[in-house]
């Protein structure tokens, strides 16, 4: 949005830096007063951010090198927690599961793209109604969504299995089978974020210049060809951004596992995520040093994704002039 706005407004605040140094208001005292004002303006924010974010990052890193005592104190143990992590099969499973959810999340991207493409067709009626319906799960709390799907996916009396039985297929143990549980949670994650992705894709589609599409129509491209050969390459930056957002948010899945599976389920090891394992260790078992090391791994994975994003962005994505 900002890029658009910047491009269209003839002279924006951003260009103020170019104001000639001898113009009025650029004297030494005025500049100093402006700097003081600037610091005062950012002070409340930075005080709060330092307390609740900058310091916690440092503190969490420190905690990950300590062991938590029975009464809460911590002693420095160097890399012990990380060595423990590497040898912990539950942690490896959590990393694997989190990765699988991210993969399933990526499979939802083409789906969101197609729905956005259909919603963007000229002459479509009920467009805003459709948009509201697809967006609805985004505003519903994940706890409620987890509860609903836990009922729908129930092994014994869920409606999904009874539909399967009606059409002659056998029941699937959606919430206890080690393979099915990944699909069930991955599916719900895609379902509940689909509308969010559709809205982002639609915003990208609506920025596609009309004349490009018209030129394709004149050249005889049908609607499907038009969409995949002309529109999709143009909005590839949007598709890429939505993919990155999807992967990063998949890395943080917690709520659905917490509600749909729960710690007493035998399927918890097969379905838990990094953040769920952090909760289990840090909150339930009060092993804060270990939990701190677990989220440090999450930070490292997020940084890897971000680094990959920067590299791929240059190679794959087509940016217009």
């Amino acid at each position: 949005m900002s890029q658009l706005a910047l491009a269209t407004s003839p002279r924006s605040v951003a260009e103020r830096g170019d104001v000639a140094p001898n113009s009025p208001g650029r004297t030494h005292t005025a500049r100093r007063r402006e700097a003081v004002t600037g610091f005062l303006f950012i002070l409340p924010l930075f005080a709060t951010v330092s307390l609740f974010m900058f310091y916690p990052i440092i503190r969490n890193t420190y905690l990950s090198f300590t062991e938590t005592g029975v009464f809460g104190g911590e002693t420095w143990t160097g890399l012990d927690q990380y060595i423990r992590l590497v040898q912990d099969p539950q942690m490896w499973m959590a990393i694997r599961n989190t990765g699988l959810y991210a993969l399933i999340g990526l499979l939802g991207i083409p789906l969101a793209l197609i729905i956005a493409g259909l919603l963007n067709r000229p002459g479509l009626r009920f467009k805003s109604l459709f948009r509201v319906i697809y967006f609805l799960p985004v505003v519903v709390m994940p706890v409620a969504i987890g509860m609903i799907w836990r009922l729908l996916f129930n092994d014994d009396y869920g409606i999904i299995n009874s539909i399967l039985n009606t059409i002659g297929l056998s029941s699937v143990q959606w919430l206890s089978d080690p393979v099915a549980v990944i699909f069930a949670i991955g599916f719900v994650a895609v379902w509940s974020t689909l509308g969010f992705n559709v809205v982002l894709m639609l915003a990208g589609l609506q920025a596609v210049p009309r004349d490009v599409i018209e030129a394709a129509v004149l050249d005889g491209a049908g609607p499907i060809r038009q969409f995949f050969s002309v529109t999709v390459p143009i909005i590839s930056p949007t598709v890429f951004m939505v993919s990155v957002l999807t992967v990063i948010s998949s890395l943080q899945i917690f709520d659905l596992v917490f509600i749909m599976i729960g710690r007493n389920s035998p399927a918890i090891d097969d379905s838990q995520t990094i953040v769920y394992y952090f909760y289990e260790q840090g909150v339930v078992l009060l092993d804060r040093g270990y939990a701190a090391a677990i989220v440090t791994i999450l930070l490292i994975l997020t940084m890897i994704v971000t680094a990959i994003q920067f590299r791929l962005q240059k190679r794959w994505v087509h940016y217009g002039s």
């Binding site: 658009l4 910047l6 605040v13 402006e34 706890v143 409620a144 009922l151 729908l152 943080q252």
Partner: protein, 299 residues
């Protein structure tokens, strides 16, 4: 497409460019072209709505009806008392109150702190400006789970563990909010600020009386994000508070989901009531919700 058709289309396009608008029949194909579009979108819409319909139906069933095989679709008798039971099984109104207070207090501070800082980063010149801004950008990449354990330690020092202020406090700022507000202020014409300065207005005045009113779409996007995040937040409330009446609705609702015996009608009734305020807000303010998401996505 045959050549003559193409020529007709090209001519219409030319006429459109001359007349300043395309002829209607060229822009909007007849509805019959969209048949499959409606079918696919309609099926998708059913997939999106069915779970909620099932949730509402289940919330009116008896426990026996909810878990009977073969499936019971309609409750024999609509059990309105499931809703009453959900209101008393958890301190529902305390939790609702906590959720509402969280949204209001957090939104107020987010808008205040982030727009002040956003204004400074967009308009003012001061030393280390870029460095400080990069520090904020870096924070946006850090998963928030990293903060949670140290945040509970800090609140313990304040004596805010297991209190409503503790539930609210860490959410009153975000790096994202600063970034969003800065983008809005950057897009405004600099002549506004210059003119106000010549008239002798202070930066505080310019921020409050000129920039804030103009940044309303940005402010509403920030409030919507804060509200959605607060309303749906689960992990932090579970970490910081243990008394049921100090939880928000989201975490409070999660306590209804037992591990062994699951009273689905009770859970569904509680969930319907907990999700309803946000759904109503969304239906009333759809445009702002969807624009807000679209803005932030294309930052």
């Amino acid at each position: 497409m045959a050549l003559d058709q193409r020529m007709v289309a090209a001519e219409e396009r030319y006429l459109a460019s001359v007349n300043g608008g395309a002829p209607k029949k060229w822009r909007i194909p007849p509805a019959s072209h969209l048949g499959w579009t409606y079918v696919v979108l309609g099926l998708g819409a059913v997939m999106m709505l069915f779970p909620f319909a099932w949730q509402v139906l289940t919330s009116f069933k008896t426990l026996d009806e909810a878990i009977r095989v073969p499936i019971v679709i309609w409750p024999a008798e609509w059990q309105f008392e499931n809703y009453g039971r959900a209101l008393t099984a958890i301190p529902f109104f305390d939790m609702l109150n906590n959720s509402v207070v969280s949204v209001v207090v957090r939104s107020f501070f987010q808008v205040l702190l982030c727009s002040l800082a956003g204004y400074a980063f967009a308009v003012l010149r001061f030393p280390f400006k870029n460095l400080l801004f990069i520090a904020l950008l870096a924070i946006m990449m850090v998963p928030r789970e990293l903060y949670l354990l140290p945040q509970t330690e800090i609140l313990k020092v304040f004596g805010w563990l297991n209190t409503v202020p503790g539930l609210i406090a860490p959410g009153i700022v975000s790096a994202f909010g600063v970034f969003l507000m800065r983008q809005f202020f950057l897009s405004m014409p600099s002549s506004l600020v210059e003119a106000a300065k010549i008239d002798g207005a202070s930066h505080l005045r310019i921020w409050f009386s000129i920039m804030l009113p103009l940044a309303r779409p940005g402010i509403s996007a920030l409030i919507i994000f804060t509200a959605l995040f607060s309303w749906n937040e689960l992990l932090w409330p579970l970490l910081v508070n243990s008394d049921a009446d100090k939880l928000n609705l989201s975490a409070g609702l999660s306590t209804l989901s037992g591990d062994t015996l699951t009273d689905f009608p009770l859970m569904m009734a509680g969930a319907v009531m907990a999700q309803l305020p946000m759904i109503i807000a969304f239906l009333i303010l759809q445009k702002s919700f969807i624009q807000g998401i679209a803005f932030t996505g294309t930052k």
